[in-house]
Every structure is written in structure tokens, then in C-alpha cells.
């Protein structure tokens, strides 16, 4: 296409040709787009799309391409729409030109075109388009053609993602409900999908499965596409049947799905059945449960004949199922034996399940298998197999001896990593069955030389120390290790220290020198605090009361059990409810990895902030020059150069003047914009508090201190409705303004809610910090769940910046005076490193600080130090304490020095911590 004469070697003129060529290409495309021949037109649009795919910018052809949308040809229309979706975001204004086409197409006689228009409009996330979307969407939802209706159903979910209030206003959710009873199964499926999606994003149950809805869903289940069946089953899983009879009825309708060829359908059906089995309970339904248990096994086993990816998904889920209902697969252990050519990730998961299913009945078979695996090629798999043998021994008392036999055989192979892994598990076996298998220690000692991994070494040393009295040359063995003490891994060093002390207590005469040497090494040579501390403890114990030392060091150890790979019951219940979701793959509750998209934080807003940032920088550069001039006159050094600072006044204030936008951002009378969010941290785990998880954080709202509480009901069967809160006396005198927290509506299992508790300063609640010591940041909180009567406690660190009041800006003169008057002893120093990029720029820091009522007083470059700059800040708490800070930044270094002065030195640390946290955030 492009003229060839542009490319030959032409020296400097090449680029010119290239440009013309490019222009020519675009021009040519444009001509083709306007062609009357349909084929040429289609080809041209295809070329445009191709360029778009490889990343070329073809947005300049927007109007030309849009023109092509005026056609009855579906294929061409699809291509144009594809182009539109791609450029809608970057060209919102131009996209509006397409609105007419969309609206026209949405009432085209051809249902495919109507659907296409609705589908595409939903994908264009431009606000103005959304307004125009509602009308056609409303019509499409009631269209006579099922294809249009099914497309419209999904479009409601799209609209909800952009403008939830529009969906509610227009009553689209009710329309979706009507679609559930649609005569066409695809429409039902997409309707269900849309409703579940809205339920999930809004956190409210918009699905509302009633008896009649339930019947419709079950009826549609037989007719739907495979995907539709998955959507329906997944929403059924969220429904709790009223009683055992209903549960059984639904299960009956769901079980045929276990025979579906699509594994997603099977998995979702398994999920429904498992969660309903809980509702059925035992007792009268024990028989049906037994029957179901038998029915579930074959489809689960069949999943293991699918593609490896599906096998992996199935295995991760089976791992959970086996823990919840071990009897489903108790006789199927053989199917989890690894095939030689299984992918490694499948093998690893199969091993996990083998260990969970192993029993006295099948242990011999399992051991033969594991031994076979231990000779395979893949190191990780071999190690895991060896460790599995050990876990079998720990799990099954009666088989322990046989397991150890196999391990000893494996040690004879002398394969380095097999030996090391064996030693590690044998240590666990010793801890499980003390004084039973010590006869094998000799064999272990023969293989000392092969150990080169810290974990294996540590295990071996532990064994030597523990059984020193039965090993003739224990001291010599330890001595050999001691030669390289300093080079060892900390874990090995700790074990060596302990083992030597044990050895000494058992045989004091011959090991006195050795123990002295180890204690010296640990306490004097090492800079590892753990090692040093342990060394000192032993030293003191041994020097004051050797008998007590014996009791402590050689005391009985708790017997371990094989619970290392068991999930905590609450979590297990949550996860079993999440079967056939990613949650069941990661073995984490969904909250741990699903981040709810925050609305409004995307797109143009982000751009706005960026622009503001640019403005600040520009103003800043001018400021620098002024500053330098002043300083050249001032000279001087150190802090006391503050004289220069005052001369800076005008410049500094003009700097503020430059920031024309600033008041809009931070000083606006509607404080909700600028009020910083609380930093939430998890303070209370569900197992402590009857299944409720609490997250807490502090923030200031219009001058009031608020304690933000996120209440998440993980597994409490009683919905959380009323809580009472009380604070222990604390360093800040804070106490709740009202003691009751009402959760309205109550929070059911799996739900969560946020509440803020206003805190007021009450002198009666104040604890004075002991003289000369910093105030504790900790606040102890007691919560009582009024429904269950359960009381639980947690502690949370106060965010000191929340106390800073908006009137904290000091006069410059006052600042200088106070700064000079405060004694150097009341000064705190520190360096904050690894700052995010935004915290290395003083302007951005000042802006951030200002939101927290920390005010920039002045700034200046450090004389004689290239690129360094100091900024001074002041803050005042609502209780009247004043803090002053000096922050030093250096260009290109993501760290800052913080120096803080205050009369209330007890709270100085808190203020400093607050500054540092803000800098890091």
C-alpha cells in the first residue's frame, strides 16, 4: 500500500518520508472507510481494528469509523462497535456522537442488532452514555426476542457497576426478578447471573429466593445451558432451606447434575448438596445422608479423569471435603495414587489427600506407594513423599513402627535430600512417641556428614541433645558442629545452644568447657537477639540453680499430634461453603483476596489529582530560586539559621498563593472530602469472640474522634445486632460517648458492617504515664455481645494524629521562639526509610499532613548540602499539647530524618510515631 520509494537509504530525509507515508496510510484508510463498496469498507474497518490490536493509535479515524455504523450489515456493525468500546474511554466527547446510532439500533427490526446495541452500550462506561442507555435497556428487558432479553439481563449488571442508583430508580432489579420466570432458559440463566452479581457488589440480598422463585430456578435447571446451570446452582448454594424436608427436596432435583459432562456443573452441584446436608442434620435423616454420601463419591472420582487443570481444582476442593466429611471418600484412597506422568502440582495435591485418608486399614498399601514415590526424580515431590511417611507415623500409632522401617530403608539409599527429609520427620516421630524408637539413633548418626540443610541439621542436633545420655559420643558430635557455629543458620545455632546445655545437664563433668564456649559464642559473639537472650537465660539458670535448670530444660515436652495440616473448624466451615470458588483453591476466605472495587476512585478523578500535582511542582520551582537567593545572603548553619527562615516569609506565603486549587482540596467547608480514612487493623480473631471478627481504626470527623469498628460475622449463628463497648483507662483519657452499638440490620453469618463510636476525652479516664517514660499508645477495649452475652477483649494502638486539632498552625515567630526555648533533652530523633515516592516530595507531604492537621510552617534548603531540604511543621492536640517537628529530605533518597520537640515529652513518641506512619502510608 504505502509507496515503496520512501524506504530506500536516503539519509536524513527518511523520517520525512516515513511521516508522509503514515499520513498517507491514514488518509487512504479514511478514503476506504467512505467507500461506497461494502467490501472495501469492511476491509478498511478490519485494518483499523488490526492496527488497534497491535497498539497503534487510530483514534483520529473515530468519526470516519462511526459513520460506517449506519449500515444494515451486522458484521460491519460489530466491528465498528468493537472500535467504539476501545476508544470510548479516551474519547468520551466523540463517543456521544454514537448515541444516536445506538438508540436507533436498539429498535432495529433485527433482534441481533438490537441485542448488539444494548450489549455495546453497556460496555461503554461514559456517564453521559449511561443516561441514554436506560430507555433502550428498559425496552430490551421486555423485548419479544429472547436473545435481546438475555443480553439485556447482563446489561443490567453492567449498569449497576457504573450507576447503581439508576438501576434502583428505574426498577430494573424488579424486572430481573420477572426474568427468572421467563419462558426461555437462557434468559433465566442470565437473569440469575445478574441478580447474584448485584447481590454480591451491593452486599444486599436482592435475589430473595422465595418458594415460587425456588421452583422456577429448579425448573430452569433442567433446561438451561451448562453455564446457566452453574449460575443457578451457585445461587441455590447461597440459599438456606427452611427445614430438612425442603433441603432434601432440592437435593433430589440437584443430584442428576452430578452426571453432567461439564465439571463446573458437577462442582457446583456438589457444593449445593454438601451445604444442604448440614441443614438436614443427622437423626431422622441419617439414612438419606448416608445415601447421599455414597452418591457423591463417584462423580468426585470421575473429576480426576479430566484435564489436569480441572483435576487440580477438584483436588483442592476434595481436600476440604475430606476434612468435613471424611466418610465420603474413605474407601477411595487408591484413586489418589499418583500416576507417573501426572503434572507435579497434581501429584502434590494427591499426596495431601492420601495423608488425610490414610488409616490402619490401608497403611501398608500407602507405605508401598510412598516408598515408590521417594525414588522418583522430582526433588520436591520426593521430599514431600518422605515427609508424608513421617506424618503417617505421627497419625497412626500402630503403624508407626512400619513407617520408621520404611524411613530407615530410604536413609540407606544415601540420596542426600531423602536422608535430610527423613531426619526432619524422624524428629517429629520422636516428639510424638518419646522413648520408643531411640534404637535408630545410631543409624541417624552414621549419616551426619550428609546433612547440609539448616532444618535437617537443627533436627539432628535436637535429637542428639534430647538423647545425649544414650549416645556415647554425644559431646564429640556436638563439638564437631560447634566448629562452624558462627557460620550456621540461626535455627541451627539455637538448637546447638540448647542441645549443648542439655548435654551439660546430663553429663556435667565432661562438657563443662563446651558449654562455656557455646554460652560465650551466643552471648558475646553473636548479634542475633534471640540467640543472645536464650544464651543469657541459660547462663543465669545454670549459674544460680542448676537443679531448676534441669527441671526447665529437661522437662517433659508436650506430645505433638498430626494437626499441622488441619484447618481450623470455623475456617473449614466457611471454606466448605465456598466450594467451587477460588476461595476453595487458595484455602482462604473470600475477603482475604477479593477487593471490592471502590466506586468513583477510578478514571477521570485520578487524572484530576495528577494535574494538581503538576501545578504544585511548577509553583515549587520558582520558589526554589527565591529561597536560594535568600540563603546566599544569610549564610549561617544548622538550626539556628532560622533567621533565614523568617526572611523567607513572603516567599513562603506566596507559595501558598500559587496553589490556587489548594483551598478546594483541603480547606473546603465540606470536610468530608478531605477527612482522612481510618487505618483499619484486625484486632480480634473470630475464635476469641464467638465467631465475630473485628477490625478497628481511628479517624477524626469534624473535630470529633471516632473509633471505627468493622464487625464481620464469620461464623456466629446468631446475627450480631447489639454490642456494648467500654474502654479501659488510657493515656489519652478517651472513653466512648455512647456505650451501645446498634447493628441495623443485624449482621448475619458472612456479612459485615462498619460502625463508628464517638470518643470523648474524659479526665477521669486518664492514666498518667510514669515519670520519664513515654505514654502507652495502647487502648484496651471490652466488647459485650448483648445477644449472646459473650464478652471479649482486644487492644488497639491509638492513632495519635486523630487528636490533632485544626488550630494547630503556629505563628512563625512563636514557632521559632518555642523551638529555641525547648531543651535539647526534650528532643526526639529518628529516620524513616523506604518511603513511598509521594512522601519524598515536601509539597505532597505537606498536603497530606495538612489533611491530618499538621501544618507546614516553613521550608528551606540546607546550606552546603546539595539537594537537601528541611521543612518545619507544627501541631496541637485537642487537649492543648503542642508539638514541633523538623523533617529533612534529600533529593533522590527515599528516606527522611525526623526531629521532634515538645514540652509534653511523654507524648512525644506518640507524635513522632504518628508522623512516621503518615509518611510511610
Amino acid at each position: 500500500m504505502a509507496p515503496k520509494d520512501g524506504t530506500p537509504s536516503g539519509g536524513g530525509s527518511d523520517s520525512r518520508f516515513f511521516n508522509t507515508n503514515k499520513k498517507g496510510e491514514m488518509h487512504e484508510l479514511r478514503m476506504e472507510l467512505h467507500s461506497t463498496d461494502r467490501n472495501i469498507k469492511v476491509d478498511a474497518v478490519k485494518k483499523v481494528i488490526a492496527s488497534m490490536t497491535v497498539g497503534k493509535d487510530v483514534s483520529m479515524l473515530f468519526t470516519d469509523v462511526l459513520n460506517c455504523a449506519q449500515t444494515a450489515n451486522i458484521e460491519l456493525k460489530k466491528l465498528v462497535y468493537l472500535y467504539l468500546i476501545n476508544y470510548a474511554k479516551s474519547q468520551p466527547e466523540l463517543t456521544l456522537l454514537a448515541v444516536n446510532t445506538f438508540v436507533k439500533d436498539a429498535s432495529d427490526p433485527n433482534p441481533l442488532i438490537r441485542a448488539l446495541a444494548v450489549r455495546t452500550m453497556g460496555c461503554i462506561r461514559v456517564d453521559r452514555i449511561t443516561e441514554y442507555l436506560c430507555e433502550p435497556l428498559g425496552r430490551a428487558l421486555r423485548d419479544e426476542d429472547p436473545y435481546v432479553r438475555k443480553t439485556a439481563a447482563v446489561c443490567v449488571a453492567k449498569l449497576y457497576d457504573i450507576a447503581p442508583e439508576l438501576v434502583r430508580e428505574r426498577g430494573f432489579i424488579e424486572t430481573l426478578h420477572d426474568l427468572i420466570s421467563d419462558s426461555n432458559p437462557s434468559v433465566v440463566a442470565n437473569g440469575v447471573a445478574a441478580l447474584s452479581e448485584i447481590s454480591e457488589t451491593s452486599g444486599r440480598d436482592v435475589m430473595k429466593i422465595s418458594a415460587s422463585v425456588l421452583q422456577k430456578l429448579l425448573a430452569a435447571l433442567n433446561e438451561c445451558t451448562e453455564w446457566g446451570q452453574v449460575f443457578i446452582l451457585d445461587s441455590l448454594a447461597k440459599y438456606t432451606p427452611a427445614d430438612a424436608r425442603e433441603a432434601e427436596g432440592i437435593i433430589e432435583r440437584v443430584t442428576p447434575r452430578l452426571q453432567h459432562a461439564n465439571s463446573a456443573v458437577v462442582m457446583s452441584a456438589v457444593k449445593v448438596i454438601l451445604s444442604y446436608m448440614d441443614v438436614m442434620g443427622g437423626g431422622a435423616h441419617a439414612d438419606s445422608i448416608r445415601a447421599l454420601t455414597r452418591k457423591l463419591a463417584p462423580p468426585l472420582v470421575t473429576l480426576l479423569n479430566s484435564e489436569p487443570e480441572i483435576q487440580y481444582v477438584a483436588l483442592r476442593n476434595i481436600n476440604l471435603i475430606v476434612q468435613k466429611r471424611p466418610n465420603i471418600l474413605e474407601n477411595e484412597i487408591k484413586v489418589f495414587f499418583c500416576k507417573y506422568n501426572d503434572p507435579i502440582y497434581v501429584k502434590m495435591e494427591k499426596l495431601e489427600i492420601i495423608i488425610k485418608l490414610v488409616s490402619e486399614k490401608n497403611i501398608d498399601q500407602v507405605l508401598l506407594e510412598l516408598k515408590e514415590y521417594a525414588t522418583e526424580v522430582d526433588v520436591d515431590f520426593v521430599r514431600k513423599s518422605v515427609s508424608a511417611i513421617g506424618r503417617c507415623a505421627v497419625k497412626l500409632d500402630r503403624a508407626a513402627e512400619r513407617c520408621i522401617g520404611v524411613l530407615l530403608e530410604l536413609i540407606q539409599t544415601k540420596v542426600n535430600y531423602v536422608v535430610q527429609e527423613s531426619v526432619i520427620v524422624i524428629k517429629d516421630i520422636f516428639r510424638r512417641y518419646p522413648n520408643r524408637y531411640e534404637s535408630i539413633i545410631a543409624t541417624l548418626c552414621d549419616n551426619l556428614d550428609t546433612l547440609d540443610e539448616p532444618q535437617a541439621k537443627a533436627a539432628m542436633i535436637w535429637i542428639i541433645g534430647e538423647y545425649a545420655e544414650r549416645i556415647d559420643n554425644a559431646d564429640e558430635l556436638l563439638d564437631a558442629f560447634l566448629e562452624t557455629f558462627e557460620e550456621e543458620d540461626p535455627a541451627v545455632q539455637l538448637q546447638l545452644l540448647t542441645a549443648t546445655v542439655k548435654c551439660f545437664l546430663k553429663n556435667p563433668e565432661e562438657t563443662q568447657d563446651m558449654v562455656q564456649r557455646v554460652l560465650d559464642l551466643a552471648t558475646e559473639e553473636s548479634d542475633n537477639p534471640d540467640l543472645r537472650d536464650r544464651g543469657f537465660i541459660y547462663w543465669r539458670l545454670l549459674s544460680t540453680d542448676p537443679e531448676a535448670a534441669k527441671l526447665v530444660v529437661l522437662g517433659d515436652k508436650p506430645v505433638i499430634e498430626d494437626d499441622t495440616f488441619r484447618l481450623e473448624p470455623n475456617l473449614l466451615n466457611v471454606l466448605v461453603g465456598q466450594i467451587a470458588t477460588l476461595s476453595s483453591i487458595y484455602h482462604k476466605p473470600p475477603e482475604a483476596f477479593v477487593v471490592r472495587a471502590k466506586r468513583g476512585a477510578t478514571g477521570s478523578d485520578g487524572m484530576g489529582v495528577g494535574d494538581l500535582g503538576d501545578d504544585i511542582e511548577e509553583g515549587d520551582e520558582e520558589e526554589y530560586e527565591d529561597d536560594n537567593d535568600v540563603n546566599r545572603g544569610g549564610g549561617g548553619d544548622d538550626l539556628l539559621d532560622i533567621g533565614g527562615l523568617s526572611m523567607n516569609d513572603n516567599a513562603a506565603s506566596s507559595n501558598y498563593g500559587n496553589l490556587g486549587l489548594e483551598p478546594d482540596m483541603f480547606g473546603a467547608p465540606t470536610p468530608s472530602v478531605a477527612e482522612p480514612e481510618a487505618r483499619m487493623s484486625k484486632v480480634c480473631a473470630p475464635e476469641k469472640s464467638g465467631g465475630i471478627e473485628l477490625w478497628a481504626g481511628f479517624r477524626q470527623v469534624q473535630g470529633a474522634v471516632k473509633l471505627e469498628l468493622d464487625v464481620r460475622n464469620i461464623s456466629s449463628n446468631v446475627p450480631v445486632s447489639t454490642l456494648a463497648i467500654q474502654l479501659n483507662k488510657n493515656s489519652f483519657g478517651l472513653s466512648p460517648a455512647a456505650q451501645q452499638i446498634m447493628c441495623n440490620p443485624p449482621i448475619p453469618v458472612g456479612g459485615s458492617g462498619r460502625h463508628s463510636v464517638e470518643l470523648v476525652v474524659n479526665p477521669a479516664m486518664l492514666v498518667q504515664a510514669p515519670a520519664g517514660q513515654p505514654a502507652s499508645p495502647q487502648i484496651q477495649v471490652a466488647i459485650k455481645n448483648m445477644t449472646t452475652g459473650l464478652v471479649f477483649y482486644f487492644a488497639v494502638n491509638f492513632a495519635f494524629e486523630v487528636l490533632f486539632s485544626p488550630d494547630g498552625a503556629l505563628e512563625r515567630a512563636t514557632f521559632i521562639e518555642s523551638w529555641k526555648s525547648i531543651d535539647d533533652k526534650k528532643e526526639l530523633y529518628g529516620t524513616v526509610s523506604d518511603l513511598p515516592p509521594a512522601s519524598t516530595d515536601i509539597d505532597q507531604v505537606a498536603a497530606k499532613f495538612k489533611a491530618h492537621h499538621i501544618f507546614l510552617i516553613a521550608r528551606r534548603p540546607v546550606p552546603n548540602a546539595e539537594g537537601q531540604e528541611v521543612a518545619y511543621f507544627s501541631m496541637r492536640t485537642t487537649t492543648g499539647m503542642v508539638f514541633m517537628a523538623e523533617l529533612t529530605f534529600k533529593k533522590g533518597v527515599n528516606a527522611a530524618k525526623v526531629c521532634l520537640k515538645t514540652e509534653q515529652i511523654a507524648y512525644g513518641v506518640q507524635a513522632k510515631v504518628a508522623l512516621e506512619t503518615l509518611l510511610r502510608s
Binding site: V42, K46, I49, A50, T53, V54, I74, E75, K78, L79, L82, L112, A115, C123, P146, Y147, V148, T151, V154, K158, N184, P185, S186, V187, N190, A193, N222, T225, W227, F231, D234, T255, P256, Q259, H260, A261, A264, V266, M267, S268, P298, N305, E307, E309, Y312, V313, K334, F337, Y340, P343, I344, E372, T375, Q578, L582, S583, Y586, F593, V594, A597
Partner: protein, 460 residues
């Protein structure tokens, strides 16, 4: 639900990406390349994104897509088919040297995502050919986009049935006279029977049924059967007129026991589990184990099944291995065909592993051809035609090179491949296929059986 689907080539370039949701951002295709140097951890990627490109994607997503690709290519066999980076999950599968990747930020059903990816590949195979590759993908970019839009909406999979898709997405060569009326088309796409279109006509009505079984066997070195299992599938190729209703029957033990009353009892096969094509009425099967359906036109897989008990193993292998010192090793193997002498096995390949340090081999075998193939570390014994009830022997004497560090030989299992036509290891056979149509035409039925080796292994 799924936020984005992308296809990567072996170099880690994004060939195609379709974004369905906003929570992950678009990545400019081809704006970066990754070069993995050697196999160790040093790698570099250069981004040649210009300012123009960078407008297309936001930084965050770019970073984790890059780290995904790095993960994928550094650990050549990535740890799992599912990676999570920065709360974004990547689920992927391979076709030849291309990765089909789904990105999501929500708690999706992973089986659904994988099934969708598999179906997507199946659809592309139907359109672009079984072995479609990078260049055929690039040449059909717009077609692929069209398919991506039609098979998925807002991250929810839609109709993926090839036959139906072909009705209205046809490689751009639209022939208006062939195309059905849009109204009828949409009914077809969304209808309860979305796998078959109406108005199909054949002069001769025929059904070909293939019963394909694969036997999985694992025998321990002491001769015990550790696992024996048959997985079978019934494939059909239907050339039938109209919308026929079919009823299909195997010699399923449960069905036969119910039908035969008392006297003459032909024992059926105990089928452990089966799964069906979505055309089969599962409710009906659940109720009385009858398999009824309206078939798709042409080839499809009607069902898969699994049989664990009473498996007729087509071959019996008796190996004997003797290692004499460090330099000699002898292997004797006896193979017995366990099926009727009327039948014969084809494509029999027996791989007998030998130590890596084998230097010379002396092989004696009764028939077929056997030779030492050092690249496989095995003696490969090929027999084109193996008659039923026959017995044959292989004896191998190996000379080994002395190694500096003697390491025990990890003995991999003997692996056997074969095909036995007109034989089923499970004993399954087709009892009937009835075709009912309004016009009441006659149907010709053809049934074939083949048993193949799945993982047929004997440890030594």
C-alpha cells in the same frame, strides 16, 4: 466473574486480549517483550511503550501482568495452573505453545473458568483447524474478537456450541441466502436445544457409534495389581433428518437386572460412574437409568464412563530384572496377549527402561523389532500385529559404564501402548440405539469398539 481473557505466545507477547470488566485495565498488546535469558533467574524485559501506548493501560495492571508472565516463564512448568498476583487471579491453560489466560478479581468458580477456556479453544479449533497456531490467530483477528464477544458477555460465558455459532459467525463470508431468519436464529441460540438446528435433511439416515476405551493399569514390582481401571467414551457421528429422539442402551448391570426377570440372566457390566453430553436428559437417567436425547448434528461425545471391577486386561507382562554388580544388568520380559485368538492388537509399543549409563545392549526377541534408544533411556520394542493368545519374549543383556559416583538406578515403570480393535476391556457393549422421528424413517447403525492403553505400566 472473568475480567479479561488474553492469549500469550511463547515469548510472552500478548497476541489478543479482550477486556470484559474494568477492574483490571487494558494492556497495550505488543508493548513489551520479555526475554528470559538462559533458564536461571536473570531476566530482563524491555518495554517499548511510547507515551501513546501508555495511555492505554494503567500502571498497576501492567505491572502484574508482567509479573504473571515472568512467573509463567521462569518456572517453566509453572507451579500451578492458577496464580494469584496482587489479588488478581490468573487461570491459564495451553494450546500448543500459546497460553490462554483468564484474569479475574472476584471469587469465581474456577472450574467454570477452565471449562470456558477449554471450550474456547475447541471453538477456535473448529474455526481455524485442529492445530491452529499463532499465525492463523493473527490472520483471523476480527473473527476471534467476534467469537470472544459472542461466547462471553461481561465475564459470563454464553453459548459456546460450535454448530450454533457457525450459523451466524461464518468467517466473514456471509452468504445471505444461507442465513436463517434472525428471529429463528435467536430462538436457536437461546433455546432449550441450542445444540441442534431445525430443518436438517439427509437422504440416508446413519449413525456411527464408536466405543473407545482406555485401560489404566499399574502393577507393582512384586506383581500385585495396584490399580486397574477403564475409562471409556461413546462417540457418535449422527447424520439424521429432523429432530429425532434417541434412546441408547449399554449392557449396564443395573438396567439388565431390572429388565430380566428371574430365569435367563446375562450379567451386565457394573459402571461406576458416567457423565453425559448436555443433550442427555439427566433427570431421566437419574430416575430409571435410561439415556435419552436429541443428538447434535455430526460428531459429538455422548458419554464417558468409568469401570473399576472385573477389567479384562488385554496384556499380561512378566518382567525379571537382575543387576549384576555395577557393570551388568539383564532384563527378561514375557508378554502374553489375553484376548481371543480371533482378534489382534496393533501398534504395540513396549518401552523397557534401562539405566542411563548403558553402553552396550544385546537384545533377543521372538517377534517385532526391538532396539535401544538412548534418548529415551529405554529399549523400545515395537510389534505391528500381535495376535490374541500369543506369547512372546524379550531378553536383554546390558553392559553399563562405571560411574565415578555410583548412584542407585531409579527404575521407572515399563510402559505399554497398544490398540485392540473390536475389544472392550470393561466388557461394555452397545445393546441398542433407537431413533424416533415423526416421519418414521429407517436408520443405519454402525458400531465400532477399540481399546487403547491409557497409563499401562508395570513397575520393575
Amino acid at each position: 466473574m472473568i475480567s479479561m481473557i488474553m492469549v500469550l505466545n511463547q515469548k510472552g507477547e500478548i497476541m489478543i486480549s479482550r477486556q470484559y470488566r474494568d477492574d483490571v485495565s487494558r494492556v497495550a498488546a505488543d508493548s513489551f517483550r520479555i526475554q528470559v535469558r538462559d533458564s536461571d533467574t536473570c531476566f530482563q524485559y524491555e518495554t517499548c511503550s511510547t507515551a501513546r501506548h501508555s495511555r492505554l493501560f494503567t500502571k498497576g495492571c501492567f505491572v502484574f501482568v508482567v509479573s504473571f508472565i515472568v512467573c509463567l516463564f521462569l518456572t517453566e512448568l509453572a507451579p500451578t495452573p492458577l496464580l494469584s498476583i496482587e489479588n488478581c487471579s490468573f487461570l491459564y491453560t495451553r494450546h500448543l505453545n500459546m497460553y490462554f489466560v483468564a484474569l479475574t478479581k472476584s471469587n469465581v468458580n474456577p472450574a467454570l473458568v477452565f471449562e470456558y477456556l477449554f471450550q474456547k479453544i475447541r471453538v477456535l479449533k473448529a474455526y481455524l483447524g485442529e492445530e491452529f497456531d499463532e499465525s492463523s490467530m493473527r490472520n483471523n483477528m476480527t473473527l476471534i474478537y467476534e467469537l470472544m464477544d459472542e461466547t462471553m458477555d461481561f465475564g459470563y460465558p454464553q453459548n459456546c456450541a460450535v454448530d450454533v455459532l457457525r450459523l451466524y459467525i461464518n468467517l466473514g463470508n456471509v452468504k445471505p441466502q444461507d442465513e436463517p431468519e434472525p428471529e429463528q436464529l435467536t430462538k436457536q441460540i437461546t433455546g432449550a436445544i441450542d445444540w441442534r438446528r431445525e430443518g436438517i435433511r439427509y437422504k440416508k439416515n446413519e449413525v456411527y457409534i464408536d466405543v473407545l476405551e482406555s485401560v489404566n493399569l499399574l502393577i507393582s514390582s512384586s506383581g500385585n495389581i495396584l490399580r486397574s481401571e477403564v475409562t471409556g467414551k461413546v462417540q457418535m457421528n449422527t447424520k439424521l433428518t429432523g429432530m429425532p429422539e434417541c434412546k441408547f442402551g449399554l449392557n449396564d448391570k443395573l438396567v439388565i437386572e431390572k429388565e430380566s426377570t428371574g430365569a435367563r440372566k446375562k450379567p451386565g457390566v457394573e459402571i461406576d460412574d458416567c457423565t453425559f453430553h448436555r443433550c442427555v436428559r439427566l433427570g431421566k437417567f437419574d430416575a430409571d437409568r435410561t439415556i435419552t436425547f436429541i443428538p447434535p448434528d455430526g460428531e459429538f461425545e455422548l458419554m464417558r464412563y468409568r469401570v473399576n471391577d472385573n477389567v479384562n486386561l488385554p496384556f499380561r507382562l512378566i518382567p525379571a530384572v537382575q543387576e549384576e554388580g555395577q557393570t551388568k544388568c539383564s532384563i527378561n520380559l514375557k508378554v502374553i496377549a489375553n484376548f481371543s485368538e480371533k482378534l489382534f492388537a496393533t501398534h504395540v509399543v513396549i518401552k523397557v527402561p534401562v539405566p542411563k549409563n548403558t553402553s552396550k545392549s544385546k537384545i533377543k526377541n521372538s517377534f517385532g523389532r526391538a532396539k535401544y534408544e538412548p534418548e529415551q533411556n529405554a529399549i523400545v520394542w515395537r510389534i505391528k500385529r500381535f495376535p490374541g493368545k500369543a506369547e512372546c519374549m524379550l531378553s536383554v543383556d546390558l553392559e553399563l559404564v562405571r560411574t565415578v559416583r555410583p548412584k542407585a538406578w531409579v527404575r521407572p515403570p515399563i510402559n505399554v501402548e497398544f490398540q485392540v480393535p473390536m475389544f472392550t476391556a470393561s466388557g461394555v457393549h452397545v445393546r441398542f440405539l433407537r431413533v424416533y422421528d415423526k416421519s418414521g424413517y429407517h436408520t443405519n447403525r454402525w458400531v465400532r469398539y477399540i481399546t487403547k492403553a491409557g497409563g499401562y505400566q508395570v513397575r520393575i
